[in-house]
Amino acid sequence: MKTIKQILAISAISLMSFTTNAQNQEEIIKKHIEAIGGKEAWNKVKSMRSEATMKANGAEIKLTFIQIDKKAMRQNISLMGMEGYSILTEKEGWSYMPFQGQTKPEPMTADDVKNGQDGLSLKDEFLTYKELGKKLDFLGKDDMDGTECYKFKMTNKNGQETTYYLDASSYLTIKQSSKVKANGKEMEASTMYSNYKKLPEGIVYPMTVGGGWGDTEFTKVEVNPVIDEKEFKVTE
């Protein structure tokens, strides 16, 4: 695991910043928002329910996500006949991962709950960063896995930093890497986005999301389903 951590650490290295060109920056963000389906379509998104699979050596891990914009989210993971979940609301967070030996739901630390709050927003970060009081830095052009990208960094009120790589030809986000300081530790994590698809509601959504252990593929994405808030209560 050490190796993996080291590799991730190495992969988090980033680049020289270029002179910010405010006009250019606004233009790129505008095109990015157009590329993901436009502000109007995203403003209508209030909740989501999605199903996904993750493949590892032919085995499938099933995931479901439910989220009410700015309020609460839950992820269920079904692995090897066991069910686990994590829940985050504005006030608290819980995780139950029996595969890791947890025998009952365990609360998230206050730091983790605080740092997770931005993630409760369903919308693309370029639509919400002002509203959430994030600082945005344009870091110029860079390459990411051989693809020319525009690089932006957002810093939220807690000082957590996330860097976004927008494909310079499609203006879609292809990578996001976050640096999180919590519980006395500093951690880095990267997420890759691909296989963008326009949903019937008009938003353009990445159907493949790559993380540490492999790719998660969305098989179903429901926009604005009715979600019972009870689903965000801890169950055993």
């Binding site: 991730l8 190495i10 290295i13 020289m16 050596n57 051989g146 640096k179 296989n195 493949t208």
Partner: protein, 1012 residues
Amino acid sequence: MKKRIAIFLLSVSGFAFSQTSFNAGMFGVLEARQMGPGTMSGRITAIEGVNTDDGKTIYVGTAGGGVWKSTNAGASYKPIFDKYCQSIGALAINQKDPSIIYVGTGESNMRNSVSYGNGMYKSTDSGDNWKKIGLDSVEHISKVVIHPENPDVIFVAAPGPLWSKSKHRGLYKSTNGGETWEKIFYINENTGCADLLIDPINPNNVFISMWEFRRQPYSFNSGGNGSGLYKSTDGGKTFKEIKNGLPEKPFGRIAMTLAPSDPKQMLAIVESNKTGLYISSDGGETWKSQSATLNVCARPFYFSTIVIDPKDPKRVYRPAFQFAYSSDGGYSFTEASYDGGWVHSDMHALWINPNNTNIMYVGTDGGVYMSVDKGVTWQFNHGLPVGQFYHVSYDLKEPYNVYGGLQDNGSWMAPSASPGGIGNGNWDRVNGGDGFWTVPDVDGKTVYSEYQGGNMYRTDLSNMKSEYIQPQKTSKEEKLRWNWNTPIVTGSKNPKNLYVGAQYLYKSTDQGRNWTRISGDLTTNDKKKQKQEESGGLSADNTSAENHCTIFTLAESSLDENIIWVGTDDGNVQVTTNGGGTWTNVSMNIAKCGIANQAWVSSIQPSQFDKNTVYVTFENHMYGDFNTYVATSNDLGKTWKRINSSEFTGFAHKIAEDPINKNLLFLGTEMGLFATLDGGANWFRMKNNIPEYALVRDIQIHPKTHDLIIGTHGRGIFIIDDIRSMRNLTKEVWEQDFYLFQTEDLVLNNGKFGWGGPEISGGWVTGNPASHPSITYYLKQRLNAGKIEIEVYDSNNKLLQTLPGTIRKGLNKVYWNMRETPPKVAAGSTKMDGAGFTAPMVLPGQYKLKVKVKDKEYEGKVNCIHDAANKDLSEADRKLVYEKATQLKTLYSNINNTIDTINLYQNQLKKDTVAFKKNKNAMAFHADLQKVKSDLMATTKKSIFADEERLREKVSKLYGSFCGMESKPNATQLESIDDLSNEFSKKKKEMEAALMKHLPKNPEIKNNKDIR
């Protein structure tokens, strides 16, 4: 398994937006493994910590490995400067806003092998992103100091160029956070600013030491009338020279310090004809000589750090040849203890946590050490892989070993792969001193190595006993001149030939037991360049580092052992075609293509395809010329053609030709690794998880594994595993939108290594190469919409597995585990069941690949072959294992289907929980099903520390062992399959009996269409 997953995680690449049709981005997936090691680390030049962070955040600048950051007080480090110049002179943190960091590139410990910088850099986000902010031409920076009250004011001490006269030296100041710079103090073209202090209490007091110094390829001078100590009392507007109490000029280098808690207390080590320690207690106005130990005063040009404790003006630290400290303001010194382990000598940096002055970090020629007892004892930080290799080599074992010698860290070897990965403990020391060429003999038992100045040994690897084998001068020779970095080379055609070079070339065919001199003096033998005993300047410094007019590189043609090429440090390229009988000096022919005739010949690569062709790198940096010089000849050196590229940066160390594709060449320079696919017409920078400006000293291509082995002077060794896809990526391929390469044969086994025991704790750990070849394809452009899937079919066209494909531009690699799809696992257990992750390994044969790229399909094939090397498993055994594993998979699936059925009934029964609790029939039905289910799988114990083994767990365990089996199964294993099958049949009958019994009493279930 773990390592294979690690391979999937490799990410990040580089990309050159170059004009050529191929570029680094295409090969980004060929990620180098960073071997490190952290075992011996390398030279540290600067350490700074964040004062307001409990001492947790520390930045380390290195001689050739960039900047590293720790956020856990040194428990682990990560590199944060991999896109820029790797030679670091100084660091500074704005302590009022510690997200602002300045890096001055270009180390200022002015030894012979020091690299150079390209200016100042600034980060405003704690080192994530950097911006170049000027002073591009100063080459060396020794100190960066931020004004204690106004952090927009920054002072930079620039000794300036080492190898040439320059106006770009002196004291620089910025008043706008580095946007613009002004040179505020300057003496002359030979004198730069070596040290810089600002009084923290009265920042108008600025102290600087000016230093006159110069290196030439064959001598060093520290000292001159330009050197001096200066003080400003107006924030650097004006300076006055301080002489009162100091020795007579000329001075050499001066290191100085003041007590932050009482800045009138100052100390200085002044190099002069009376080099010594001087003390001032009036803010530097007057000084008094103080007797001090050798350690305090030795080698002032190299040891320029002296520090007074932030709180205690009496506590003084002198990290130098050893670590010395004083508790009485510098009147007496004692040296650190080795109770915490040996501490590497030669120290250049010290950071003391101002909030807890017991804690400090020292930077040495061999890494960072931490003390928690005011410098008395030290603990090594094991995770900084910044070793400075000069050369690397390999043997032909499986897995092969790498060998190499390092600056001030001896010679070492390590396996290129090892169970559990390669950690600090996998490295074995071969020799001491400064290490250079470390070359294994073809016998597999012997290695040749050396320390500085050609002191060479033959070592028996079975017991590490060494014999000194340097050829000695006889009456027929002049005094032998051995380079600091003397070549020891075995023959490329005849590996039993061993060559070493002084000014003469020597050859041995019996492992250095006997030598034949096979040349006259091959150098220019310029006597003006041979006065090393006068080297050093005010302090004698003659450690063989300046030896000159010597052979520096040599190579035997891999096509003809009688063709030998020799390159010298004074510009000669000599070639013989008769094994040394006669020699031709071709250097005058080279000068015609614009390469200075005194330039060092840094490497020679005789072509492996044509006897008359040769590639040579030259470097002229010791004459102040950092250009990249590469030339080739195809007529044995009569005429030469320069190879050049706008991509090149840094002076050239090494050129390597691929042994299979003659158009594939690699070039290593002081600032990067470059490759060409078209024989040298177009080049691109390699960024494959390698710092973009790495100091690449050596490049080897392993003939069996096709690995590219890279020796860097500051980041240890890198290995890019199996570059065959790079060889095969021809123009015909890269012009297509998609191309599936023929997959190499997959040998059916679980890889080369087992688990390898518990994880290595601490230090630098590198993973192993992929255990099996990948399915490799090329994509012209990254795929944004749609996805790639690879389907694997057997000969009956049965789909075995669907693999998700990667979508990056250029080469992509996907690994198939040579197995089918694992069985499904029924829900409801309290234990995770691993069987759902594994499947029987396929049998030998040809398998079809169908690659779906968006809406297009491409076909390929892959051969899976029996592992003939495994004597424990015959082909018949393999079939038996496969059949039994498949039988167990079926049994496992049947158990899960039965559990699924039970789950279905139980869920229906409990659908309405209120009604369920009132319905006795339903409860009885549920209970009987639960009884069967709890025999079928673990349902009670949740804790991972409590075993609960029911039928499914037993089958799963046996199934797992058959899936991973690499030997013939034993009789008990085979027998237990039948037992478990019988047990299952019994349980299935029990379930059926429960249904028979209860369904009639539960009509709502019996009639439920969802179940039927």
